[in-house]
Amino acid sequence: MIKLNDGKIGAKEFFAMIIFMIGIKFKDGTPELLYEAGKNAAWMMPLFSLVFLLVPFLMLLSLLKKHQTGFLELIFKLTGNHVGSILILLLFVLFFGSVTVNYRSHAEIISTLFFTKTPVAILVFVIVAASLYIAYLGLETIGRISWLILPTFFALMIVLIAFTWRQINWGFFFPIEGPGLAAVLRESVKHSAIISEVILLSALYPFLQKERDFRSSFSIGIVFSCIQLAVFLVLLVLVFDFPGVANINFPYQQLTRFVTIGPIISHAEGLFLGFWSIVTAIHFAIYLILLVFLFARLLRLKENARLLIPLAGIIFFLSLFPENVFQLTEYRKAYIAFKSWFAFCLVILLWVLDKWKGWKRQ
């Protein structure tokens, strides 16, 4: 009997979702934060963060395998109902806030670079509406379109690298260590939230067709995303040099301006804006659906696509609160710093609780 629309996704779809959740962060405001913190060695930060998060990730995977439930159920199971609710509430608030800020920051990028006359509210609205519709169609659909778009995404990224190759000055690579290895390491830990957000994806554990797929896609996806982030952070430094890259706004979008495809297309940034918007819509749809998961678990509701509409509505209005980009950056910094520690500690806490319970039973 045909069971293809059972709401579950496969390994490839999940992998694509991780890429679109984490691996595309070089396209938004993230590089700015990283360059500020890691100077021209910022490209090492995703890799160091990955190393730093290696232990929690492995703990998480072993916990999931042991208990065979999603991340959120795991929290309830190990910490109990009350503490679990508080933890999930915290997670929800954190992610809700950062998604809101991210929406606004995307709209600001478009507003600053492309549509200077269009009100930011309209830009936010369009992005929210598109991602809401995609999220409304469900996890399956998000997985499918992620996988459909992924080859084009890689192809365009290769085009981007190939056509900006001439602008590269390998001398800008040095000093390799930037502000010093210790400083880079410290900042990597502080900014590990950029990657550790992926922990939330483990809430989708029960929605994978095969349990084995989760582990492989999760690991490959994260490593791939980090390498991708590192490659683009290197590319940006090699093209713009430090501190130039930290001083210009939205270095990725500036980079796309360098792409000249022969005598036909003199500036391809419009093309990249188009594709970037597609990727953005998928990116936010993933976040929205994760938020619904959190919210539904918090209130013990069934995951219902209808919950998306009020959530997206609130996100839209809240995202209009910050007055300008500078406020936004501050919010982002605060969120990232807090989330980094929270995610790390949460996983450790769960692991310790699990061990402690096992020990007590013996």
């Binding site: 629309n5 478009i110 492309f114 659909t141 499918r144 297309i265 003199s266 804006l273 188009g274």
Partner: protein
């Protein structure tokens, strides 16, 4: 009306006459015969135009009126007549008026016998059919040139000619309350998934309507989402294409009076592939397929990309080209969006008119199209010459999309994209695109997702954007859950 026949011949005859409004209607033909070897009266009925008189004369009347070699040894007269007198290959015994009427309107001859509670039906139908001709919409240069005609039995035979397999099942279902019509459901028993076959039959059986006029109407009736832009079924007039779908594990529906086969379930790929992709060699087949995909992208996106670039992202073009475009638009008083919309709609009118126009004055429309739209509109400064190029390329490309339903869906979507590009340039266009893609990805036909087996990713022969050589297409697509998953065993297994 579903009453059984009585033993009174006169009563039976009168009742049947009443049903057919005889003598007011001249449809029913009645011929009485005296069967001397039985010493009984018999009445032969058939319907004008539906039955063939010559067959009736040679298969029924001649044996009835000549002295039989055999003598009556059977208790049942009806069985005796069927087994030993009538020379027709298909005869059956019927016992109700309902059955008698059904047989008559399907062109068969019904014989009532004196003092018998049953009747005989003999197959004599002779509805006029069109010859088997070349396909008119799915033409190929290399490959079979037969197409279906309006007779269900001919269509079945065209399929059976290609699949010589006892596992090819054809089941008969009936739809329509007022005028019951037969629908043939065909599938290969040891390939097609049982659940799928059951689901298709269920959908057909659930139809509540008085008359199903044609297979194309049946197509709408078995669809789950009637308002959707994307079709969830496919019709083809090519028996070879139908057969290749059957062999993959699809289910095919046929109906009397329709020169098409209805195929379910379908995916995006079946809508853009053609039979010729497989008939041509690997390189040529893939080339035509890639060209068709490019045409699809051009149809969908070129007008809106043009609009987005000229109105929102002029920096994309080199200065010289941009200046050329600007210069050509200089004297045009209308905004680019309206200009484009006007031209696109005109093109659609041209297409529609081209289909409806009588063939005799067909060439005129070409002249009207090219001269009035291409030349005069430009000279009158209503549209710019570059726009004419954009619209003609789009129009030309749209003809390359093979399936009519999908073709029109793409053309409609093009207008949606046009509006979004007019509103917000590349941002609007790409958001509209991803929303549309998401919709398509969530869409499913009989439980099979639209982009399967690419997304969701499932094992298949990768007969998608391109196709591998025939010998490498060893798997049946898994999204259909075929019972027999492999088309060909690999060499090692074969040698065992």
């Amino acid at each position: 009306m579903n009453t059984t026949l009585t033993g009174h011949l006169l009563y039976n005859v009168d009742k049947l006459k009443n049903i057919f409004h005889y003598p007011q209607s001249k449809a029913l033909y009645i011929r009485s015969v005296y069967l001397s070897f039985l010493k009984r009266e018999a009445v032969v009925f058939f319907v004008e135009g539906a039955a063939e008189i010559k067959t009736i004369e040679s298969r029924i009347l001649t044996p009835f009126l000549s002295e039989p070699v055999q003598t009556m040894d059977d208790d049942d007269i009806i069985d005796f007549l069927i087994e030993e007198i009538l020379t027709s290959s298909i005869c059956k015994k019927i016992t109700t008026f309902d059955a008698a009427v059904n047989e008559l309107i399907n062109g068969n001859t019904v014989i009532f016998i004196e003092d018998e509670r049953a009747a005989i039906s003999v197959v004599t139908d002779a509805f006029k059919d069109r010859q088997i001709t070349e396909p008119s919409t799915e033409f190929v240069i290399k490959g079979p040139k037969e197409s279906f005609n309006e007779s269900m039995s001919t269509n079945c035979s065209l399929i059976r000619k290609r699949i010589k397999d006892p596992n090819l099942i054809s089941e008969l279902l009936t739809v329509g309350d007022r005028e019951p019509q037969q629908v043939t459901v065909m599938y290969i028993k040891d390939v097609a998934d049982d659940g799928l076959v059951k689901q298709v039959k269920q959908r057909v059986n659930q139809i509540e309507i008085d008359v199903v006029i044609d297979l194309t109407i049946l197509e709408h009736l078995i669809e789950k989402r009637p308002y959707s832009l994307i079709p969830s079924t496919l019709t083809t007039e090519r028996p070879d294409r139908t057969v290749s779908f059957l062999r993959e594990g699809h289910v095919v529906l046929l109906m009397e009076g329709s020169p098409l086969a209805l195929i379910v379930p379908i995916t995006f790929w079946s809508l853009i592939h053609t039979a010729e992709d497989q008939y041509l060699r690997w390189a040529s087949g893939n080339f035509t397929r890639v060209i068709r995909l490019i045409a699809l992208v051009i149809t969908l996106l070129v007008p809106s990309v043009y609009l987005a670039v000229t109105t929102f992202h002029p920096e994309m073009f080199p200065t010289d080209l941009m200046l050329a475009i600007a210069a050509s638009r200089e004297r045009i008083p209308i905004p680019a969006f309206w200009e484009l919309l006007f031209m696109e709609i005109t093109l659609e009118i041209l297409r529609e008119a081209g289909i409806r126009i009588p063939t005799v004055i067909g060439p005129t429309i070409g002249i009207v199209g090219t001269i009035i739209l291409g030349q005069a509109a430009v000279e009158a400064n209503i549209v710019s010459p570059i726009l004419v190029i954009v619209v003609s390329i789009t129009g030309l490309a749209s003809f390359a999309i093979p399936d009519i339903g999908f073709n029109i869906a793409v053309r409609i979507t093009r207008f949606i994209f046009l509006i979004s590009a007019a509103a917000m340039g590349f941002l609007g266009l790409s958001l509209a695109f991803i929303v549309f893609l998401a919709y398509a990805a969530s869409y499913s036909s009989f439980g099979v997702p639209f982009f399967a087996p690419l997304a969701p990713s499932l094992p298949s022969s990768n007969d998608l954007y391109t196709r591998p050589p025939v010998q490498k297409q060893s798997l049946r697509p898994f999204h259909l859950f075929p019972k027999d998953k492999q088309r060909m065993k690999n060499r090692k297994e074969r040698n065992k």
